[in-house]
Symmetry: C2
Subunit: 517 residues, 2 copies
């Protein structure tokens, strides 16, 4: 995996001007080895090397955030948070921590393997945890996900199946065809429709959707603790949120294919299949595509940036709000209107089908008997929670007049449900679910109840814990579960929802905090 | 509660012709006292009294079904199952069991209290369990619910708030008005629209919807075992399914109010409020009302019968498929298009709002912070399961070559989810959830994945149980949990979903079976 290296030349030697002339020289490997407090925490910025260990507790964004850059170049992290570059303060602080410089001549030359199909993949943010580099399967840490409502594009989870296609947006064409399933359908499109990006931008109203996209295998790692399932062992980070802009699929189908709510049934159309330039294909039901409340988008912008990042579908992807990630086909090249769902693993295979928890092999399974995933179930996560300080414990009386020693902690997270079902309540517990406190819903809580395509942030400041039996060094689990507008609840444990493909893990999420003096 | 008594005169003396001339005479009270096997099981039919105890095990429909009529008049039960009246077989069997006749002169005269507002309530089926007679809150037993896909209208759960209104269908009018919430809205309807049943039947296409309707408090009794919540302690029977026919709300709003998908937002309409002649009122979001996939109906027929039963809204009710029972307003008298949801307990009060499990009083609750119920979550029930016969145990080897003594049982039930989300899988366990077997989906499993308004029946014939430690007299719980098309799962226990109002209990359902020799 290559990392960001877009340093602007004029900024290259700003840092470190106060350092002595005879500087100690290090390689990037030396820096990489210093990636923990025990080994001292080093970072590089431009050609300078810093020891930030003693600064950790003074970092305005918190020590955990700075630790994400331990052993790494700090620039991609600074780029996420404008505070670092909007003033000289961060640079001034950093200067004092300089311990040397990078010996760029000693950098090992990376030979590009010209036969590597992945050689043109884009650089990725160093904060992403890499499950697989080829193809890219990477996820951001939970703590970064909860910092901004719209996930910075560079922090979005990446779930590719192949090398990232190289597409020339100026000449890229998207064809719309119809399947040959029935007599009526044969002449559905007199001529094959061909559209390009210019058409989409000029001929259609630019619509905006803020949507959370989650991989079907998000939190698979939690299922794997019960029993190994098949697929990438994602943590909780295979979920991200962005503001997408583009043309409405509904509008495009009407204008370029003449398909609408009034004729689709007569024409026998039941599915819309999307094809990616990476040979991926996945379909959604036509009702989602044509619904006036479906909001399916051909997206060409992400987070107000005029282009999609290459990892996220440049130049055009589908956004199917409320549906599992795989339906949001990237690098869109073809659309097919069909009486059947897409063939291949992503619809008809087992990749997105959930079987009962006692079936641990495909043997004897009737794969056709279970429909593939489209909408996803209710989900929630604790992204941050504060360690517990026993020194802050207070004594109070409960309803029965008994004395209790209690301490409070705070926690933050997000919750989301598929199908546009808004999050209406988030419950948090620090005593294994014996009692629950309701969190405050924050950003995202004002979305329409049936079109809440994006997650809802939550926080709680006064989560109460019985401190009478706690001692320093103990660990406490902060649990979360959410309720959506259809009053769906999350299951308690992972065992009863375990499934062969490790899909849809949405049991109560736990975040461990430490008990301190 | 009065019971059915529509005996046809010509059939009155068919039964009992083989009995001796000097017959023993009993009162209905005598019959009612014989309502268990210990006390002998008696039933009456017309003026005859029968002891059916020795016939229980020979009853073609099973002993449990016949036991439902213990101590009661058998006619309303026979009327449910045409087999009894389609041939003479049932009557011939019954004759042999006659033990006497009803002394109708000794029947206590029931004085009608003319001041009782409930005096005109309709008769109800004796199989219904009565939680409250005034107003009627009654539910059928689970075993009857699973016998026919369309619940016979007389067995439908009844959840009334007041006496059943007396309405003359010929003169009954339904007004459509708009609220006075905004300037735009003021002149929404130039004149108040008034429609009647004749309009609805003649001017609009008759549409049919098979829908399951479930009370928000169904299975509240299960929550009350954790801690008493407020409201009727329903068992699992506050759920029923019927085929409804009527006019589409969407069509009526277009024709009589000029409201459609293209103008509702501009007009500021957000909710449709339904008013019942019983002073009930409840609203649904306008998007559900106008959606081409919403299927909201003004229903005037139920189960192919030309009239709705009085208990179920005669002459007109709303059917809001996929939404909680209370939105399906009965005895419809007025519709209001509004920018706000209905005032009163059923939308804005706590009656249909779910708070966290640790809030056991309304004190300090921000009622407005939680949206009222519309769509319901995934639900499933075991309606029948066979007792376990140890004599049928067999020995087999498991995957590790260990010997196991196993026995099989069978079970049947139903599953349903709100919002039209189809049931895609049902898991059954007889070992506390340690392992699960997938049931076979039966009637209802062919519904569209996103418009499955009615329940899905399921059954399993080979549910395996480790018999090595079982002994006669033991009890085993057969557990069920279902998965809907959005892959929502049911929570394991009731404690974490307990709520003040006892709503939405959908934890794993358990059915107890006995272990026999």
């Amino acid at each position: 995996m290559r990392i960001f290296k877009e340093a602007k030349a004029e900024a290259a030697s700003v840092a470190g001007t106060a350092a002595p002339k005879a500087v100690k020289m290090y390689t990037r490997l030396d820096v990489a080895e210093h990636d923990s407090i025990e080994k001292r925490v080093w970072c590089s910025y431009k050609e300078n090397v810093y020891d930030v260990t003693d600064f950790l507790d003074n970092h305005p964004g918190g020590r955990d955030l700075l630790l994400l850059a331990a052993g790494k170049d700090i620039e991609p992290f600074w780029r996420l948070y404008q505070a670092h570059v909007n003033s000289d303060v961060a640079m001034e602080m950093l200067k004092t921590l300089k311990i040397g410089e990078l010996d760029l001549e000693k950098e090992p030359k990376v030979d590009v393997d010209e036969t590597d199909p992945y050689k043109n993949d884009p650089e990725r943010h160093p904060a992403l945890k890499c499950h697989s580099a080829k193809p890219a399967n990477m996820e951001p840490p939970l703590s970064l996900l909860r910092r901004e409502y719209l996930t910075p594009s560079s922090l979005w989870f990446v779930r590719n199946h192949s090398p990232v296609p190289i597409i020339d947006a100026a000449t890229h064409e998207i064809t719309i065809v119809s399947g040959e399933q029935s007599q009526d359908n044969l002449n559905l499109l007199r001529t094959k429709a061909v559209i390009n990006l210019e058409h989409l931008k000029k001929d259609f109203e630019k619509k905006t959707v803020v949507a959370t996209v989650q991989c079907g295998g998000n939190r698979r790692g939690g299922l794997d603790l019960i029993k190994k399932s098949s697929g990438t062992g994602w943590g909780e980070g295979a979920i991200s949120t962005a503001k997408f802009a583009g043309a409405s699929l509904r509008d495009v189908l009407e204008v370029h294919a003449g398909i609408n709510l009034h004729n689709y049934e007569r024409l026998g159309i039941k599915h819309v299949i999307f094809y990616g330039a990476d040979d991926m294909r996945a379909s959604i039901p036509i009702e989602k595509a044509l619904s006036p409340f479906g909001d399916v988008l051909f997206a060409y912008e992400m987070n107000d940036c005029e282009e999609l990042p290459r990892d996220h579908g440049y130049p055009l992807r589908v956004i199917v709000p409320g549906h599992v990630g795989v339906r949001n086909v990237k690098w869109l090249s073809k659309i097919k209107l069909c009486s059947e769902e897409a063939d291949g693993p992503w619809n008809r295979g087992i990749a997105y089908k959930g079987f009962g928890p006692s079936y641990s092999s495909v043997e004897g399974l009737n794969i056709d008997s279970v429909p593939t995933m489209q909408e996803m179930p209710i989900q929630s996560d604790v992204a941050e929670a504060e360690n517990i300080s026993l020194s802050l414990a207070t004594t109070s009386k409960n309803d029965d007049g008994e004395k209790r020693t209690v301490v409070q902690t705070s926690a933050k997270g997000f919750a989301w449900s598929g199908g546009g079902r808004a999050i209406i309540r988030v419950d948090v517990s620090a005593n294994k679910g014996l009692s629950w406190q309701t969190a405050t819903l924050k950003e995202g809580s004002d979305q329409p109840l049936s079109k809440a395509w994006a997650w809802t942030f939550w926080e709680i400041d006064d989560l109460e814990i019985d401190a009478s039996k706690l001692k320093p060094g103990d660990e406490i689990k902060v649990l979360v579960k959410a309720v959506d507008a259809s009053y769906n609840a999350q299951p308690e444990g992972a065992a009863a929802i375990w499934n062969l493909r490790g899909l849809n893990n949405n049991n109560w999420h736990a975040f461990t905090v430490k008990v301190e003096e």
